[in-house]
């Protein structure tokens, strides 16, 4: 298992290096000139950083969420956080909001995500704690509501902003720049750090609250902490570049296949796997049909799903 984890780390850095130097125009790192240096530092590197951060956030939060909800079908979007973020972002785009400059849309998305996470948390709260089934149902319910509102806004609006909003919702990394990276690093690494810190408690929660209690954890406190970390990671991810499917749901299952179910390894492995996959998908998205760029979310699903289905035919990817 440890060897497999080391391999994942290796693959992660290999993918990073490849996406930095390959692309529509390959760049030789040993022979940089002014133009290529500019492309590398100001176009590719920030885009890769954003892709990695988003992928890490989705992979790690998927693993954590499947644990705290005790449900292998949970993903970061199931809690409605992304729908809330998309709705807020679309309102911002169509309303032409510019109060925060280039940060306006990410700020709207982040606020929408955090607000939605808060509402889901309140709805999932009963008898002094968060209950997995309530969280799940509240998230699904809100998700439908926000998606419907988003559709409503889009169908009545005649604004040119609609196309941009649509691009945003399907995941758009082409707007990436260094400005967004620091807060992404803050929330994503913060969330991963909290999840790692509480990884033993997460393992125990998977067995059920009574086991967690018996093993010396306070199940409700742990669940709230982990829920907050998932909320922040998902919010950061959606506000960095919209919604990317597949990673949050399936990367944890793929990672589990290689390194087992212990969250002390699973959470970092899912983060690295998610980061590597989105980075690779984005490389393909921008170099497959130049000068056209495909949405990276489409590529993650097209390369990820068949691989996942192949693994599913083998034992123990899912528990069934």
């Amino acid at each position: 298992m440890k060897i497999n984890f080391f391999l994942i780390v290796l693959i992660f850095f290999a993918v990073l290096a490849i996406s930095l130097f390959l692309g529509p125009t390959p760049i030789n790192p040993l022979a940089l000139d002014g133009t290529t240096r500019e492309i590398l530092i100001n176009i590719r590197a920030p885009r890769i950083a954003v892709a990695v951060l988003m992928g890490m956030a989705l992979g790690a939060s998927g693993a954590v969420l499947q644990g705290i909800l005790r449900n292998p079908l949970a993903d970061p979007y199931i809690l409605g956080i992304s729908s809330g973020a998309s709705l807020a972002a679309a309102i911002g785009i169509i309303g032409g909001v510019t109060i925060f400059g280039t940060f306006s849309i990410p700020v709207f998305a982040f606020a929408g995500a955090v607000l939605t996470g808060g509402i889901v948390g309140v709805m999932g709260w009963k008898r002094g704690g968060l209950w997995p089934e309530r969280l799940l149902l509240a998230g699904v319910g809100l998700s439908f509501l926000f998606s419907a509102l988003l559709m409503l806004i889009m169908s009545v609006s005649r604004d040119e902003g609609i196309r941009r909003a649509m691009l945003w919702i399907f995941g758009d990394l082409s707007m990436s720049d260094w400005e967004r990276v620091p807060y992404g690093v803050l929330f994503v690494f913060g969330g991963v750090a909290i999840s790692l810190w509480r990884a033993k408690a997460l393992n125990a929660l998977i067995l059920g609250d009574e086991f967690a209690h018996s093993l010396g954890f306070a199940p409700q406190t742990e669940r709230v902490l982990l829920f907050i970390s998932v909320g922040l990671m998902t919010a950061a991810s959606v506000s960095l570049g919209g919604m990317i499917g597949f990673i949050g749901l399936l990367i944890p299952h793929i990672a589990r296949f290689f390194i087992g179910s212990d969250n002390r390894l699973l959470v970092p492995a899912s983060a690295l796997g998610g980061g590597a996959l989105l980075c690779a998908a984005d490389l393909i998205a921008r170099s497959a049909l130049p000068p056209m760029e495909l949405p990276a979310g489409i590529i993650t699903a097209i390369i990820g799903s068949p691989y996942f289905l192949y693994l599913l035919r083998r034992k123990n990817v899912l528990s069934v």
């Binding site: 499947q66 644990g67 005790r70 449900n71 292998p72 033993k200 393992n203 125990a204 998977i206 067995l207 059920g208 609250d209 009574e210 086991f211 209690h213 018996s214 093993l215 010396g216 954890f217 306070a218 589990r256 087992g260 179910s261 212990d262 123990n316 528990s319 069934v320």
Partner: protein, 266 residues
């Protein structure tokens, strides 16, 4: 059995609890568990056995009364410190994530910064699962799952084990071996065990049994005093005969007909 001579580990002092308005209730429960004691909880479904174990482990907080662990209020312990003293094994083991047996058993060490004397492999050996160490929990039978969690509980190394129906899903061989193993551990580490039981005959082998009905204690003490034909009929609503083997050991013979059934035939 002079319980006063042994130090009390767990004491329930007039503990009350109810699940909502119409839920099950335990009322003014008062009993204590001494060091090295084996106590079997017997009672019909819904009589309050699980509730008593959950109160004792701190999972449920009493609505009135007190629960003391080594003379200190149970709720005043830090979670990790309590976990080194009490281990609770729930009745339902519903795990959907494919942890390996070794990973699961190893969780018994979570309360510790410095691992206690026994290792995960030794715990696996005690329950006869050494050859399944790398198997996934989701691939095991009900009885093997139960033994996995018993190994985790043993590794946790607490002096007081509160076990909710630990013999459920176990073959008769493993039922006997588990009870034997717990007795051995009592010899080695002076552990105390409180376990909910289904089988009255197993209860007869315990030092003490508690017979429970509707959240109250019908009887608590030596099995031969507590488990009489009339008290068993009262608790379980069945007719039984208590028979004696040539060596004097008692066992319960269940009658086929329920009282009500007999009444209806008449």
């Amino acid at each position: 059995m002079s319980s006063a001579s042994k130090p009390m580990i767990l004491e329930l002092i007039d503990a009350c609890f109810s699940y909502g308005k119409n839920g099950h209730v335990v009322d003014n429960l008062a009993f204590s568990v001494g060091e090295g004691e084996f106590i079997g909880l017997l009672g019909a479904n819904g009589s309050g056995k699980s509730t008593i174990l959950k109160l004792g482990s701190g999972i449920l907080k009493p609505s009135a009364g007190k629960i003391m662990l080594w003379g200190k209020q149970l709720q005043s312990y830090r979670n990790k410190d309590r976990a080194k003293l009490i281990s609770y094994l729930p009745q339902t083991l519903d795990i959907s994530v494919p942890f390996t047996i070794r990973e699961l058993v190893g969780m018994g060490l979570y309360p510790y910064d410095i691992p206690p004397a026994i290792t995960p492999d030794e715990a696996l050996d005690m329950v006869g699962l050494t050859d399944k160490a790398d198997a996934h929990i989701t691939d095991l039978s009900g009885g093997e799952k139960r033994r996995t969690f018993i190994a985790m509980t043993l590794l946790q190394g607490a002096g007081l084990l509160l076990l909710d129906e630990p013999l459920a899903n176990l073959d008769i061989k493993y039922q006997i071996e588990l009870v034997r193993l717990l007795r051995t551990l009592r010899g080695q580490r002076n552990i105390s065990v409180v376990m909910a039981l289904h089988d009255i005959n197993i209860g007869l082998q315990f030092d003490k049994v508690m017979l429970i009905k509707n959240g109250g204690i019908l009887g608590f003490g030596r099995p031969e005093d507590v488990l009489t034909e009339s008290s068993i009929t009262d608790a379980f609503d069945i007719e039984v005969k208590i028979l004696r083997q040539t060596d004097g050991k008692a066992y319960v013979s269940y009658q086929e007909n329920y009282r009500k059934w007999q009444g209806m035939q008449k």
